[in-house]
């Protein structure tokens, strides 16, 4: 075997910030090589250098033994390097075939497109790699998993030998992840070299041959996946031992806080998103909702927080301690003692340009403690920020000036959590994907704080696409499928089945697909 890609002494700095420092790495031909590290460890910068988007400050990249210096991605593509970005680069109004040939049309300008030839090629590739997509479908109508397959087909169409996948599973449902791994293995079988970027250790161990761990811009080690353990990788990533399983003492639920009864949700176009959805949450328990994305999670959140698109209609009821939630506005619901951590933190929960201090009161800025005259009591704001950054281990240099957007994903999420958990008279916490895009070190803190809140008697609704998270935290679990709870695991069942996580995951999997 020889190295398909070799990096030697790569460094890259932006101003005084060192993103990559003296990185040497060799990726063997025909292997799946994973690159793991926390957010901000420098993985993205490194891939951008390989793909020709960034140029290294020093060091060398060699492809199949030949030193290369890419001025643009186009040159990287010519040398057989391809990349599947986290956010797809597709045109939704064009068909799959048209997207695949885009920029590589095999026809002179003003000549007709050789669509038939392309379709035959797509067919051939689909068969040999298990990449099934309809070449005539519009990309806009595809699922996320299918879009990803189109991206992979694009690379094959361009004869890429080295393929970079940037966090490919971040947006996939569990079943789609499995399909992706099958495809990756098929690609390896045919001699393709794959660089797989991730921070999910289970996946990496499942699919990769070798794993390189990055921390603070450096490679701290490369090990064979077969002999590696999750705990070992986590320790390398974070630089200290990490508790992968949160300490979860048995919960002692008290009286009912939230009662959802026969909730129905019809979208503007008429399709039913929720129907006959019923469950209850008691004080001091975490009700976990397991389910593949798109089975009504977003709609449930919208209904409970009073923010749904125009034209959609809601039936049934949701009551907080007997008082109706449906029909109220977010501000009113919040005043009743409900906190909400939305799925899409960056878009919905924070103002990226505002400093950390202001984000710690955003949405709670009408509380009397923070006010003075028509403005804010800055001393109270600062005291609040000082307390929260300490209690929640929010790492930032100067909370009063640093814009939230400059923090890592984990620290941003801690800001949101700190703000929402400390809402006065909180009785219900709605948590959606609390650790999505969050690094391991921060997950530990976040899980600990969620359990703490439960111990204090808060009722918690947890919606997560990570089954492990749902199992680790929940008191009871409801399996959401096509807009209603298909099966519910009682507290005793969860306690019992938790002991054998793998089996429990499979069992839940049966109820959500």
């Amino acid at each position: 075997m020889s190295a398909a890609l070799r990096l030697s002494g790569i460094s890259k700095s932006f101003g005084t910030f060192v993103a990559n420092s003296n990185i040497s790495l060799s990726v063997e031909e025909g292997t799946i090589h994973a690159l793991v590290g926390e957010n901000g460890a420098g993985k993205s910068t490194l891939t951008k250098i390989i793909y020709g988007i960034e140029r290294p400050s020093s060091g060398e990249v060699a492809v199949h033994g030949k030193t290369v210096r890419f001025a643009s991605p186009r040159e990287a593509i010519e040398r057989g390097i391809g990349m599947v970005h986290q956010h797809f680069m597709l045109v939704p109004t064009l068909s799959v075939a048209e997207n695949i040939m885009l920029g590589n049309e095999h026809a002179a300008l003003f000549h007709p497109l050789p669509l038939k030839k392309i379709k035959a090629l797509i067919k051939e590739h689909s068969d040999s790699y298990g990449l099934s997509v309809d070449p005539d479908a519009l990309v806009g109508s595809l699922s996320v998993g299918e879009e990803q397959r189109v991206e992979i087909l694009k690379l094959l169409f361009r004869n890429a030998e080295i393929m970079i996948f940037d966090e490919p599973t971040a947006i996939l449902a569990p079943s789609e992840c499995e399909q992706l791994f099958t495809i990756l293995r098929a690609l390896r079988q045919k001699g393709k070299t794959i660089l797989f970027i991730s921070h999910k250790l289970d996946e990496v161990l499942a699919v990769a041959d070798r794993v390189s761990v990055m921390r603070k811009g450096e490679i701290v080690g490369t090990i064979e996946a077969a002999s590696a353990t999750k705990a070992e990788l986590a320790r390398m990533m974070v630089g200290r031992s990490v508790l992968l399983k949160v300490q979860n003492p048995p919960s002692l639920p008290a009286k009912e806080v939230l009662e959802v009864n026969n909730l129905g949700f019809r979208a503007a176009k008429g399709e039913t998103r929720l129907s006959d959805l019923s469950f209850t949450i008691r004080a001091g328990e975490i009700y976990g909702i397991a389910g593949v994305e798109g089975n009504g999670q977003s709609e449930l959140l919208q209904a409970l927080w009073g923010l749904y698109p125009r034209g959609s209609s809601i039936t049934g009821e949701a009551r907080l301690k007997g008082e109706a939630l449906i029909g109220k506005k977010p501000a009113e619901i919040a005043r009743m003692g409900v906190s909400h951590i939305p799925e899409n933190r960056l878009r919905h929960a924070v103002i990226l340009d505002f400093p950390v201090t202001e984000n710690l009161v955003f949405g709670r800025h009408q509380e009397a403690t923070f006010q003075r005259g028509i403005g804010f009591n800055h001393r109270a704001l600062e005291a609040n920020a000082a307390r929260m950054t300490l209690e929640y281990d929010i790492r930032c240099s100067s909370p009063d000036h640093q814009p939230l957007g400059s923090l890592s994903g984990g620290n941003q999420q801690k800001v949101v959590l700190a703000r929402e958990l400390n809402r006065p008279r909180i009785s219900l916490l709605i948590l959606a994907q609390p650790t999505r895009g969050v690094d391991i070190g921060a997950i530990e803190t976040i899980h600990k704080k969620i359990i703490e809140a439960r111990q204090k008697g808060v009722a918690i609704l947890l919606i997560s696409s990570e089954l492990e998270e749902v199992i680790a935290l929940s008191t009871r679990i409801g399996c959401l499928y096509k807009g209603s709870i298909r099966h519910e695991f009682s507290q005793e069942e969860v306690e019992q089945k938790k002991e054998h996580e793998g089996e429990f995951k499979n069992e839940i999997g049966l109820h959500i697909t």
């Binding site: 932006f14 101003g15 960034e54 927080w305 923010l307 506005k329 977010p330 501000a331 919040a334 909400h340 939305p342 878009r347 919905h348 929960a349 924070v350 103002i351 990226l352 340009d353 505002f354 202001e358 955003f362 949405g363 800025h365 009408q366 006010q371 028509i374 403005g375 804010f376 000036h401 640093q402």
Partner: protein, 344 residues
Amino acid sequence: MMRQKNARVLIPILSILSALLLCTLIIMMTGKDPAMIFGKMARGTLGSSYGAGQVLFRMTTLILVGLAVALPFRVRLFNIGAEGQLQMGAFSAAMAGAVLPATLSSFFAIPICILAGMLAGALWALLAGVLKVRFGVNEVISTIMLNFIAQGVTGYLLTYHFALPSTVHTAPVIAAATIPSFGLLTGWFANSPANLTSLLALTAALLFQTLLFQSRFGFEMRATGLQPEAARYGGINAGMHTLTAMALGGAAAGLGATNIVLGYKHYYEAGMTGGVGFAGIAVALLAGAHPLWLMLSALFFGLLEYGGLTVNAYIPKDIFMMIEAITILLVITFSAYGKRHQLS
């Protein structure tokens, strides 16, 4: 952080400097000596108390129309309609001043006329706000259309109903409704149109500054402008902020009418606003929609506008129009460039 702050000050200065450099080149191409032209401009504007008064007068209107653009800009609304709002305000202020009983004291007459102007401007802008919140009409399109409508409405009312015979202006406002010039009161800027409205403009800028950056209301406004969806999740009524930002902006433009009608002409005249409302866009953009910095950019454009007039005999005024536009283009280019470099 520090670098970002520096960039925010550096970019407008760099763009003004390069615009002036370009302007020098253009003057040279017309065969004139730029040093002579700039010297004459300096003497004609800030060099004499009359010239300084003229600059202050122009700056005052520019501040107010600049504020009319800047505040909505913070809520992510592009108010192209300051011109129409100013026109409606000017017409209303003039009409109110003309119909008041001549015996009314200034104590009542002046506030009534000022409020009439502000109210007309606010309502005109609010129309665009309502169209946006209620029907989702893009405010750029609606404010442009409202500019045309304002021009039509005021033009029609003036020509067919309110113009004094064989003139193109309305009856003058009652004496008690006029705002005294600095010249009359203190002898400063003698004979120039600079009047006490300048103090109102300063107050308005300070008020907008406080509202935006010191109040909870402004906190919500800025949040709505930066991330409208997050604002809704945070329980902020985004539609309400769209409406208030437009109304307050329109009111500022309407206050501009006080300067030109009550402080200077004392009547409404066809074409009296002369497109200064559009210059407000430039004023606001050059200052990054910041209410206080905006006063400096209003000064710059005021200097350019009146400076252009003083050297009219040597250099066509059109050259100075070009400079204004070139400055804006450069600001936008420089800030886009700055942003891109900060990101990568």
